[in-house]
Amino acid sequence: MSRNSNISSTQENYLRRMKHQQYRIKIIQILIFFVFLGLWETAVQLSWIDGFIFSSPSRIWKTFAGMWEDRSIFLHMGITVAETLISFALVVVLGISMAVLLWYNEELSRVLEPYLVVLNSLPKSALAPLLIVWLGANMKSIIVAGISVAVFGTILNLYTGFTELSPDKIKLIYTLRGSRRDVLTKVILPGTIPLQLSVMKVNIGLCLVGVVIGEFIGARQGLGYLIIYGSQVFKLDWVIMSIMLLCMIAMVLYGILNLIEKRCLRRR
C-alpha cells in the first residue's frame, strides 16, 4: 500500500496495539495447549490418573512413532483423508447442481422442501448401519455416509441464498433481454460465491464427521476404524492418538479452504 508513508502517530499507535494484542492471543493459545499436555503427562506420571485408560502424551507419541515406522499410520490417515475429500467433492457437485435445479423449478423446490428439512435434521449416524447393509462394508458406503451428513444442508443453504438475491438484479438481466439461463450464469452463481465458499468451509468438517461415522461401522482401515478397534481391544493409546490426528486433519482441511476463500474473495 502506498498510504503507509504518511500515517499519523496515533494511527501508528493504534496499529501497534492491535498487533500486540494479536500476538498475545496467539501466545496464550499455544500456552494452553502445552500446559494441558504437561498437566496430562504429569498426572499420569504421578499416578493421579490411570495411564492405561487416559493414555498420556508420551504414550501417544510412542504409539505414533511405532505406526510411523511400520507405515500403518499413513494408510489409516490417507484412507480417511481420501474418503473425506471424495465425499466433499461430490457434495460440492451434488449440492450446487441440486440447488440450481430447485431454483430452476420453483414448484419442485416447494414439493421437496419438507423432505429436505427432515433429512437435514435427521441424525445421519442413524443412516450409517443401513448404508453398510445396502452398499456393503466398503469405501462406497463410507463415502455416501460422508455425503449424507453435508449434502442436505448444502442444498438448503445454497437454494435459500439463490432466492435471496435482489430481484432487481435479476430484472436487470431481463431488461438486457437475457434468458433465465443468463440470470443463472451472470447473477445467481457469481453473486453467491461468498456464500458458496462459506458453505463449503463448513462442509469439509461435516464430511469428515460422516466418514468417521461410516468407518466406525464398516471399515477395516481409517482413523474411525482405529478408534473403534482400539476401544474394543482396550488399546486406548490408539483411540486417543486417532482423535488427536482427526483434530489435526480437521484443522488443516479447514485452513486450506479458508485460504482458498480468502484468495477467491480478494481476486474478485
Binding site: 432487481d168 431488461t175 433481454r177
Partner: protein
C-alpha cells in the same frame, strides 16, 4: 408518420395472496420517434410498472402496447419482398410489432452494477448476453467510456466510483446495445442535487446527439419540465392519465440546465404543480 409507441387502454394489477393491487387503469398515450416524454406521478402510483409493460417484462391484463412505426417498417419491407418473390408468409408481419422490443433500452432505478465485475465488464454485460461483442460494438463502448470520463476506471470495481459515475456506467451499459427507445426509471433519484443537474445535462445531450426516443419516469417536476417535450401526468394509484402537457419552449435545443432559467420554465412548472395538486385534492 406512425407513432413509435402506442399504449391503448392498458391496465395492470398485481396479484398476491393478500389481495390485488390495481396499479394502472386505462392508460393511453403515444410517443413519436425522437421525442422525449416524461411521466410524472406520485410515488407508488405505477410508473415503474408502466415501463415494465412497455419493455415487455410484464404483459398488460387488458389493452395493448403497440409499436406501429416498427410494424410499418416491416410491412414496407414485406411488400417489397413480396414484389420480389412469388409467395410470402403473412405471419412475419403479425409478429413484427413485438420484435421491436429488442430495440428497447431500460434503465432501472438503481444502477445495479455487479460488484464481482469490473466497470468494463459491467458495461458490456448486455453485449455479452446478446452475443454482440464485435469490433464495432466494443469500439463504441470504448468511445463512450472515454467521452463520459470513465475510461480511467474501466478496471475498477463499482464500489470505487461515485454515484454520478456509476449512473453514467449504467447508461453506457444500456446504450451499448444501441436501443431505439430508452426507458429511464428515475435514473437520477439516487444522486445529490448538484450531480443530478450535471448528469441530467449529460444524459440529455447524449440522447439528443444520438437521436434517441426516450421515456423518463420521475417524481421530480422540475426535472420533467427541464428535459421533456411532453409530460404525461398520472393520478394516484390506480393510475390513469390525468393530462398530457405539451411543452413548447421558444428557444429550441436548450440543455436542461438552460431550460431551468428560461422564462417559460416557471409557467410550465406551476401548471404541472397545479395538476399534481389537483391530484391531492381529489382523494
Amino acid at each position: 408518420m406512425k407513432p413509435l409507441l402506442e399504449l391503448a387502454h392498458v391496465s395492470y394489477a398485481y396479484h398476491s395472496k393478500n389481495g390485488e393491487t390495481i396499479a394502472l387503469t386505462d392508460i393511453s398515450f403515444q410517443v413519436k420517434k425522437g421525442e422525449f416524454i416524461a411521466v410524472v406521478g406520485p410515488s407508488g402510483c405505477g410508473k415503474s410498472t408502466l415501463l415494465s409493460l412497455i419493455s415487455g417484462l410484464l404483459l398488460p391484463e387488458s389493452g395493448s402496447v403497440l409499436f406501429p412505426w416498427a410494424t410499418q417498417q416491416v410491412e414496407d419491407d414485406y411488400v417489397q419482398e413480396c414484389a420480389a418473390r412469388e409467395h410470402c408468409d403473412n405471419r412475419n408481419v403479425v409478429q413484427a410489432g413485438t420484435g421491436f422490443r429488442d430495440k428497447i433500452g431500460y434503465m432501472l432505478q438503481k444502477d445495479h452494477l455487479f460488484e464481482w465485475r469490473t466497470i468494463y465488464k459491467n458495461v458490456i454485460l448486455g453485449l455479452e448476453i446478446q452475443k454482440k461483442q464485435n469490433e464495432e460494438s466494443l469500439a463504441k463502448v470504448e468511445k463512450m467510456l472515454k467521452d463520459y470520463g470513465l475510461y480511467r476506471f474501466r478496471d475498477a470495481r463499482p464500489s470505487e466510483l461515485s454515484g454520478g459515475m456509476r449512473q453514467r456506467a449504467a447508461l453506457i451499459r444500456t446504450l451499448a446495445l444501441d436501443p431505439e427507445l430508452l426507458l429511464l426509471d428515475e435514473p437520477f433519484s439516487a444522486l445529490d442535487f448538484q450531480t443530478r443537474l450535471t448528469v441530467c445535462d449529460d444524459v440529455a445531450s447524449i440522447l439528443r446527439k444520438e437521436k434517441k426516443t426516450a421515456i423518463l419516469v420521475t417524481h421530480d417536476l422540475s426535472e420533467a419540465v427541464s428535459m421533456a417535450d411532453h409530460i404525461v401526468v398520472l393520478t394516484k394509484r390506480p393510475a390513469t392519465v390525468r393530462t398530457i402537457l405539451e411543452l413548447d419552449f421558444e428557444e429550441k435545443n436548450l440543455t436542461p440546465f438552460e431550460r431551468r432559467n428560461a422564462p417559460e420554465f416557471k409557467m410550465y412548472f406551476n401548471q404541472l404543480w397545479k395538476e399534481m395538486d389537483g391530484n391531492e385534492q381529489k382523494q
